[in-house]
Amino acid sequence: MVTSVSSLGRSGVFDWLVQRVSAVVLLAWFVFVGIYLATHSSLTFEQWTNLFNLTGMRIFTLGAILALCAHAWVGMWTISTDYLTPAMLGKAATSVRLLFQLATLAVLLVYLIWCTQILWRI
């Protein structure tokens, strides 16, 4: 079995599953919000905040941002281990890859906190 210290679950099979489950959650969220916006062409501020005031919508949106963090982490990790390699970058590859992964993690942490703030400040 392929394992790696920096992969999400230290196991390719686990990451594979995380990528699929989070993809389905994100698909559901974007399809739902897309249909909602398409069917409310003259949307008002009140309707929009009422939607995000629903406990169900908050849970759904929090689930979606958590799914996005997991999904983006697995995706960016895969890209970094495919392209930021010694074959491409030489000796600096390991440092560059680790920095890239840490930067990804920092951005995702900001996204998660930001989205949580948006949801609970309404």
């Binding site: 501020f45 929009w48 074959a87 930001w114």
Partner: protein
């Protein structure tokens, strides 16, 4: 990590078939969406924080440069979702053949072009 790991493929020397091009585009759109999430969260934040913010988002979405940016982001999202659905179908064994590869790639391109046009009509 072993100091000398074998390099089996020199990707730069390989001609990419259509299925490989749709695959790399899936990756590129994924990285683009990673960055675009900041734009989407900004719009979500503004639209929910106050009525002025909501009206501000409505007004900037009406301007051509913002429409173009949103159109690119939503097209990338549409492409990424269609290509992702193709992945899920292949995971359950649909289209996993040599003939299925280019067919799946063509369907992916076709559907995402349609989605992109739908978004364009919707925005303008």
């Amino acid at each position: 990590m072993k100091p000398k790991r074998p390099v089996n493929l020199d990707i730069g020397t390989i001609d990419l078939p259509l299925a490989a091009l749709t695959s790399i585009t899936h990756r590129i759109s994924g990285v683009a969406l990673f960055a675009a999430t900041a734009v989407l969260l900004y719009l979500l934040n503004q639209s929910l924080v106050s009525e002025q913010g909501f009206l501000y988002v409505r007004s900037i979405i009406g301007s051509t440069p913002v429409k173009l940016v949103l159109w690119v982001i939503l097209s990338a999202l549409g492409y990424h979702m269609v290509a992702g659905c193709k992945h899920l179908l292949m995971d359950i064994g649909i289209g996993e053949t040599k003939a299925g590869g280019p067919i799946g790639a063509r369907i992916t391109i076709g559907l995402s072009v349609v989605l992109s046009l739908v978004v364009e009509v919707w925005l303008w």
